[in-house]
């Protein structure tokens, strides 16, 4: 709660006039987005609206056709590999854990690459990240193929946090999870945001995630982005946004939000 009510003075990440097109189809039409330090922002949109492309553009995996992305005031494409690794953590949709490495080795890989820490210290830190992500220590020696869907997400979380990034990108963190595991992930995101002060960008369809933990929601529709709090967006008269926030699923998610906010 504290993190969400914090004053967001400066943007940690700013996307300006992003244009992405594939062939003749324009996915992003000069969209701009500012993400503030310490906030949790959700990016929502229909299937095929270009959420994943936007995420890839924001982290610098995709070069937009026009426009720029500034991370900490610097163009994301020009940031060096080590510096970028310390700034950005990404949780990919399928986890993207390296299948040939154990979970602990997965977490230690960026540390081994970018820090001079001794192996023993790396292991201690990996054990801490596992605990932070809510995994028992003995899951560290398991290989990704032996993990359940929820555990894969948590392990990928632990790896995304390996270098204490300032900004964490989550691509569909609760998809394919049962409601209990999904709520666990939501709680984890909020806990990390409160404790570490980490900025979180969530790309998701999950209305409960959007309504309960995201301070602001960016809705991607018709190649443009509309940003606001859930309450503000509910009053939008754009038909798609209206449908999105007033459908039967949205009603249930709003109930969950009211419950978790205690009012």
């Amino acid at each position: 709660m504290t993190a969400r009510t914090k004053a967001h003075a400066e943007p940690i990440l700013a996307a300006r006039d992003i244009v992405n097109r594939f062939g003749k189809q324009v996915v992003h039409d000069k969209l701009s987005l500012e993400i503030m330090r310490g906030e949790i922002i959700g990016i929502a949109g229909g299937s095929g609206s270009g959420k994943s492309v936007l995420l890839k553009t924001l982290v610098g995996l995709h070069q937009p056709d026009a426009g720029e992305v500034l991370l900490n005031g610097k163009a994301v494409q020009s940031i060096g590999a080590a510096e970028k690794a310390a700034l950005i953590g990404v949780l990919f949709q399928q986890g993207a854990l390296f299948s040939s490495l154990s979970v602990a080795q997965n977490i230690m890989l960026p540390m081994r690459e970018h820090t001079a820490l001794a192996a023993k210290e790396q292991e201690q830190i990996a054990a801490m990240k596992l605990a932070l992500a809510g995994l028992p220590a003995d899951s560290g020696i398991k290989f990704p193929s032996a993990l359940s869907g929820g555990m894969v997400k948590r392990a990928a979380f632990a790896r995304a946090l390996a270098l204490d990034p300032k900004i964490l990108f989550l691509d569909e963190p609760t998809s394919d999870l049962d409601p209990i595991a999904a709520s666990g992930i939501d709680a984890l995101i909020r806990q990390l945001n409160d404790g570490l002060g980490i900025t979180v960008v969530i790309v998701t369809h999950d209305l409960t995630t959007l309504f309960t933990i995201c301070g602001r929601i960016a809705v991607l529709v018709d190649g443009k982005i509309t940003v606001g709090t859930a309450n503000k967006l509910m009053q939008s008269d754009h038909p798609w946004i209206h449908e999105f926030f007033h459908g039967p699923r949205a009603e249930g998610a709003m109930k969950a939000r009211n419950m978790s906010h205690g009012n």
């Binding site: 299948s99 540390m111 820490l117 830190i125 990996a126 605990a131 220590a137 020696i141 404790g195 570490l196």
Partner: protein, 380 residues
């Protein structure tokens, strides 16, 4: 009392990177600067000894600007050793609370197995797997054969569209590469033959050597190996991908037998395509032989053609061609079998594809050796 007074310069060339500086002496120290994953090692070095000296020590954190989770973990460790942390900034409080209340256990060790035991275990597993694979193969070959025969008896079960697509993919599209390889192989054989036979004045027999070995063995062998690598693997990959997307299960639920729609058309198509490809390779091999004769033996193509009926007879040609459908059956069956054995994950598609290719080439060579002995005994 030891007096610790460390002031380390920023270690890296990056000016924005702060260092962890320990200042003060005796029991009261202060940590200044940044304690993060980059400066943790130096901070640990400066504080490790000091922290062991027992309780009633304190570390002031009021001037600590940056703290991350590894730094917090280190401070929690100091706290557990009895060091009092004072002047904690508000923004670090939540992080320290979060990290210190984690229930931390060291990572468990992976059980160490001595090398000699690993070898024994692997040998045993290998033997066990080989036995099961052989049984599986025999069962699957039997099922594939029975379904194929069944489809031939009831032509309405045949799927002409699928068969013709597979004939086109495995046969027609392979023509250029098979032709090229057959010519190359004849050239290689020709050069070796001339080099070995010339000292005895028998270099003219190179024509016999090339023609007979191309027709009897090399054309069918090189075609079968090429097709196993090209089409057997693609059968495994195609069916394997269907398996990972649960398409095979969807067929079963709809009451359609995967053997009938996936395996039989591929088997029949390859049994049609491989003999035709072998015939093509025969011709191209003989063309290669003609080229060699022209360049190395001064035998003109017309002379070569007139000599050919005297050096080879029909049995050489048919012995080679006879083997093609048998090889084709096994290549297609093994490819399909491994495709159906794919389990869920994408890695297993790659693994099964490799296995299918290795197994089918191995089986082709074993069968070829068997046929060589058989025809020798039969005197064909």
């Amino acid at each position: 009392m030891t007096s610790v007074s460390v002031s380390s310069q920023p270690a890296s060339e990056d000016p924005s990177r702060q260092a962890a500086v320990v200042s003060g002496d005796g029991d009261q120290l202060a940590l200044v600067g940044a304690l993060d994953i980059g400066t943790l090692a130096e901070a640990r070095n400066s504080l490790e000894k000091w922290s062991k000296h027992g309780p009633s020590r304190s570390l002031d954190l009021a001037k600590l600007e940056n703290l991350d989770t590894p730094g917090a973990l280190f401070l929690c460790g100091l706290h557990d050793k009895g060091v009092e942390l004072t002047g904690i900034r508000a923004e670090h409080r939540a992080l320290l609370d979060l990290i210190c209340q984690l229930d931390l256990k060291p990572l468990p060790r992976v059980e160490f197995v001595p090398r000699w035991r690993q070898i024994v275990i692997r040998l045993g597993k290998g033997a066990h797997d080989a036995r099961h694979e052989t049984i599986d193969l025999i069962i699957f070959v039997g099922r594939a054969a029975s379904w194929t025969v069944n489809a031939l008896i009831h032509p309405s079960y045949l799927r002409p569209a699928a068969i013709s697509r597979h004939v086109s993919e495995t046969g027609i599209q392979a023509l250029p590469i098979i032709g090229l390889m057959a010519v190359m192989m004849a050239v290689v054989l020709g050069y070796q033959g001339v080099a070995q036979l010339r000292p005895y004045g028998g270099e003219d027999f190179t024509i016999n050597l090339v023609a007979v070995s191309v027709l009897r063995e090399m054309a069918v062998l090189i075609t079968a190996i090429m097709v196993a690598g090209r089409s057997g693997s693609s059968f495994t990959a195609e069916i394997g991908v269907m398996q990972t997307r649960e398409e095979v299960d969807a067929l079963k639920v709809m009451g359609i037998e995967p053997m009938q729609v996936l395996v039989v058309p591929r088997v029949i198509a390859l049994v049609i395509a491989l003999p035709l490809l072998t015939f093509f390779a025969d011709i191209m091999g003989l063309v290669g032989g003609a080229a060699i004769s022209e360049f190395l033996l001064d035998v003109s193509p017309t002379q070569y053609l007139t000599r050919l009926p005297h050096v080879v007879d029909g049995s050489d040609f048919f012995v080679g061609l006879f083997k093609a459908p048998i090889f084709a059956f096994f290549i297609a069956t093994i490819g399909c079998m491994h495709g159906l054995r794919v389990s869920g994950s994408a890695e297993s598609v790659g693994r099964e594809t490799t296995r299918a290719v290795v197994k089918s080439i191995f089986l082709v060579l074993v069968l070829d050796a068997f046929f060589s002995i058989l025809f020798e005994k039969l005197g064909v």
